[in-house]
Amino acid sequence: MVRIASPLRSYTSGASSVTVDGATLHEILANLDRRFPGIRFRMVDEQDCIRPHMRVFVNTSEAKRLSEPVRAGDTVHVICALSGG
């Protein structure tokens, strides 16, 4: 399950969570982008780095790299970082 930050829901037709397969964050986001073209580039840059104002968690642990493993049943949270108050 991937929980989608509200600014990205225009890509998912308003869905706040979607079910996507993948063994790593890299696979999850690639599959997410296949379903919702363009969504990945708004979260991850061309060097495969999570953008500065986005935070990605696997369950309750923050992921810093796309190689982070994801197990069946895990929830990936895509959240906008607090920026500017």
Binding site: P7, L8, G38, F41, M43, D45, E46, Q47, H53
Partner: protein
């Protein structure tokens, strides 16, 4: 339109119905994936969009921050890096971060006589020219001052704010620099600081410069306070546009209709434009969200919109 909405990464959106609907590029401007040991760059924002040469339908150019050049050949749907600049062996020397906002590429100009003849401006880096469609570039900064650098005369590292090329006389360029107002008539390579003819109390610092589409000798600027702490606002709170009609030899203040005092306008480099009417109309937008217009070449101004968000860019849609 370039967009960097809130927390999300940058993209480009296109409208073909005057803004009623917008479609996001399927392949926004992005640097290529860095190889082992290479500097890894990611587009933080798309700063400048320019249509390509009239003979190349569907071609557009984009300038980014960090400074990068991108081209689309399908009307902005897919963008690819221009390797001739982005991977140029001298790029890392030409471009310096210089400011907390980082560096960015702007003022992409195409010679109407030759689609392979291009100019770009980089803050901070200078003005560069290509004769082969972007494959190779050379600095074009002779005569331009850079008082923020230890050496007085350097080939690059300057801070052009806005560069303009006249469509009817493409060998004539003007630019508003962090260090003054300049004109260049090719094939010369040395810029002349025409801003020295501005009144001393006003100076020649600003962001935008716009040219009269019908007259290569006429241009308008919006001077800003570049003294001491650089507030970048209208000098002494008295906004004014200045116009030259003799290629920069003399300048005339135009402020009828503008606030007389306590109006610290800032007009960003893309927030001023002309239209193409016979009697040239002028427009500028402020960071305070106001749009001002003149139907008579700047002789008189009126506010045509208020309470908008910060204005980055104003373009006449014809």
């Amino acid at each position: 339109m370039a967009a960097k909405t809130g927390h999300l990464g940058p993209t480009v959106l296109r409208s073909v119905d005057r803004g009623r609907t917008w479609r996001e590029a399927s392949q926004p401007p992005a640097f290529r994936k860095a190889g082992e040991g290479e500097e890894a760059r990611a587009v933080q924002r798309v700063f400048w969009l320019t249509p390509g040469h009239a003979s190349e339908s569907g071609t557009w150019f984009a300038g980014s921050s960090p400074a990068g050049l991108f081209r689309s050949q399908d009307g902005g749907e897919r963008w690819t890096p221009v390797a001739g600049f982005n991977d140029h062996p001298m790029r890392s020397k030409w471009v310096t971060a210089g400011t907390p906002d980082g560096e960015f590429l702007h003022s992409i100009l195409i010679d109407p006589r030759d689609p392979r003849h291009l100019y770009i401006g980089i803050s901070i880096g200078g003005i560069f020219e290509s004769m082969d469609g972007g494959g190779d570039w050379t600095p074009l900064n002779e005569g331009v001052e850079a008082d923020f650098l230890p050496e007085p005369a350097v080939p690059y590292g300057h801070d052009p704010h806005c560069v303009a090329l006249h469509p009817l006389m493409p060998d004539r360029l003007y630019h508003q620099n962090h260090c003054g107002l300049y004109r260049l008539d090719r094939p010369a390579r040395r810029w002349i600081r025409v801003g020295r003819a501005m009144p001393k109390k006003i100076g020649d610092i600003g962001f935008p410069i716009v040219l009269d589409p019908a007259d290569p000798d006429t241009a308008w600027v919006f001077p800003m306070d570049g003294r001491t702490v650089w507030p970048r606002t209208a000098i002494d709170g008295k906004p004014a546009v200045y116009r030259t009609q003799d290629a920069g030899k003399t300048w005339r203040r135009l402020d009828r209709g503008l606030p007389r005092s306590k109006a610290w306008f800032t007009v960003l480099r893309q927030a001023m434009c002309t239209d193409r009417h016979v009697r040239t109309g002028l427009y500028f937008g402020t960071t305070g969200g106001e749009v001002w217009a003149s139907t008579n070449a700047g002789e008189r101004w009126s506010c045509i919109a208020r309470h908008l968000p910060e204005i980055y860019s104003v373009t006449h849609a014809a």
